[in-house]
Assembly symmetry: C2
Homo-oligomer: 425 residues x 2
Amino acid sequence: MNKTEPRTLPGFMELLPQEQILMNQMKDTIRKNYEKFGFLPLDTPIIEDSKVLLAKAGGETEKQIYRFNKGDNDLSLRFDLTVPLAKYVAKNYGELAFPFRRYQIGKVYRGERQQKGRFREFYQCDIDIIGDGTLSIINDAELPNVIYNTFKELGFGKFTICINNRKILNGFFEYLALEDLSADILRIIDKIEKIGKENVIKELQDLKIDLEKINQIISFLEIKGSTDEKLQALKDLKISNEKFEKGLQELEDVVKYIRLFEVPEENFKIDLTIARGLDYYTGTVYETFLDDYKSLGSICSGGRYENLAEYYTDKKLPGVGISIGLTRLFYQLNEMKLIQTEKKSIADILIISMTEDFEYVAKIANKFRNEGKKVQIYFEDKKVKAQFKYADKLQIPYTVIIGEDEVKAKTYTIKNMKTGEQEMV
Amino acid sequence: MNKTEPRTLPGFMELLPQEQILMNQMKDTIRKNYEKFGFLPLDTPIIEDSKVLLAKAGGETEKQIYRFNKGDNDLSLRFDLTVPLAKYVAKNYGELAFPFRRYQIGKVYRGERQQKGRFREFYQCDIDIIGDGTLSIINDAELPNVIYNTFKELGFGKFTICINNRKILNGFFEYLALEDLSADILRIIDKIEKIGKENVIKELQDLKIDLEKINQIISFLEIKGSTDEKLQALKDLKISNEKFEKGLQELEDVVKYIRLFEVPEENFKIDLTIARGLDYYTGTVYETFLDDYKSLGSICSGGRYENLAEYYTDKKLPGVGISIGLTRLFYQLNEMKLIQTEKKSIADILIISMTEDFEYVAKIANKFRNEGKKVQIYFEDKKVKAQFKYADKLQIPYTVIIGEDEVKAKTYTIKNMKTGEQEMV
């Protein structure tokens, strides 16, 4: 028979079992923490009607979309979890209790240019809180608290949740009479970490902004110090602009509540350079960095938006949300050997039987399973040495050996596969 | 702005949060039981190269496939989890430890004709055990044990795992010199539950099988009695055919080991009418029925196959597997109001605050979360009555009320939302 090469498409993550266990542990930790704060689970289809999914999309995103026809239907694979959420909330508005707090952990699809570490199928782990008409600013402090709890448990060392407010930026540009250029300016200053100050200045000059204003923008972006010092410095600017003042008040409130939630000072900071490229953020914005691995970029981002579902409904639905790009994060941490590799096995125990009395073997397996242990019995007719090798390869921490002696004595021998210690029980 | 109707495609399940919680509970229970037996997790891409995915497929399945081009790539969405497993095992043969035991719980796609209760996107929950060259018959008894544990915990009442062996059927047809027609005959007798005995006879006659042989087939299929009586009746047929005898021996062994695994007698039986339509089953076959809801059809099916990955590799990889069609099962049980609806909430506690002292409120929330409770704080500026209504709508079992009195006394009031009982703690 002609054989087809069993290949997996590039840009699609497919892990070996031991890596998959680690990936699942991360996913479970994220889910556990999202649920700890009472977020409700959602699971929307991966395929949507293109008309619905692309009601808002355009530009770069639309080009990346997996779009195709099946029969008479024009279909697309979801490219994020936010648009399906907007559809869902608009569709089920009458059934939901607001504030509607949901999490969704699922795969999304983007036909990105092929590149190492870039994925075309990847997990997003989102939480959003959607208000009906209004939504308290305290929610903007709740999300950093969830993220703090999540990354603390994930255990990849120190991390910092960076916070800013788009109203401060937008108000500042209004004050400079540069509001028509604010989208462009935001896009440019968003890149300051990547391209450096000089290039930001250059790009701002290309927009024909005069140097005095550019200097004001740069000194604004370079406000330094502790969280309280930054807040004070922003006040000291005495910018009499309504939007700016509102944004500053929001940022102060968010900081206040983050502290009340007992998120440690070292795990969050104000970063006035964060703008998030996307148009729909209107208030608080977040990015999160691993302190020792800043080169990974933001591993968890999001923000406040005015109106989740305006393409589907007249209802005003403000929200705040944040997303972990799990596949990319896992890939990077794994490449850097940063993922804890201690427990790689599903099974706690492999039972190795050297007896014809299978009844006793099965009883011992049931006993351990009833105690909550994960147990595999080795059934194949292989030498004991091969069975130990199997346990080693699967990193199963304990083997239970049952020979004729053990059957007679109604005992079993347990072996710690790491230390080699054996004990008859 | 023109609004797009926020619709979800027909044939795609999208649940309200309280149903989603129940669905997730089922998924978690299945996963937990699969892991209890040491099955390793797998998560393969939903999109595969069509050439790889369709190496084997043909006929009805191929017509249902979501297949499309993206750039120069001919892509397809997976229609089951078995073909991706075959690809995976062939691709990673050198990295895996055999027997390779994996579970996969994931969505698959089939563009079925639109029909109530039929889904185009649905979860399959599969376990398979793959041997390298050989695989002990004990594995064929392990799967019913896993399924027994799983459905016992899912708790939908009595269920029966029906077991047969294709070699018995095939050997029987060989003995009747009808082996050339065996695929057709299997296809027909597989439908006996659906179309009845008379129609089976009629369809067998259409194959030009003479009446004497048809009668032998029917009396074979009508062997009755307990498991042991059926095994004895099969022996008593004294059919001197190697395949038949091998199948009978395998079936006896499977029954023996199922009993040693302590699966209760009431939860399994031999059913000689089960053939499973698919060509690739070569030994043990399974179907599972809820005793009180037989009309649901088999809710968990599978069997033994000779060669998992022959389209990708020369390695002989025998396996045995079984699959739960979760989406359809959930839909049907939910329609019949059979799913336990007691606990519908994620949050255990909603904190209702009537104080300006948010610090105290946040401390209480942290305290409960550290104790492992899932806690939501109500942040919005709404009347207390509205907050209680919110807890009710989300079915949150307890509210914790914190007013000025509680802050002063460093206490809180806890209310059981079901009974209305309140207590200050």
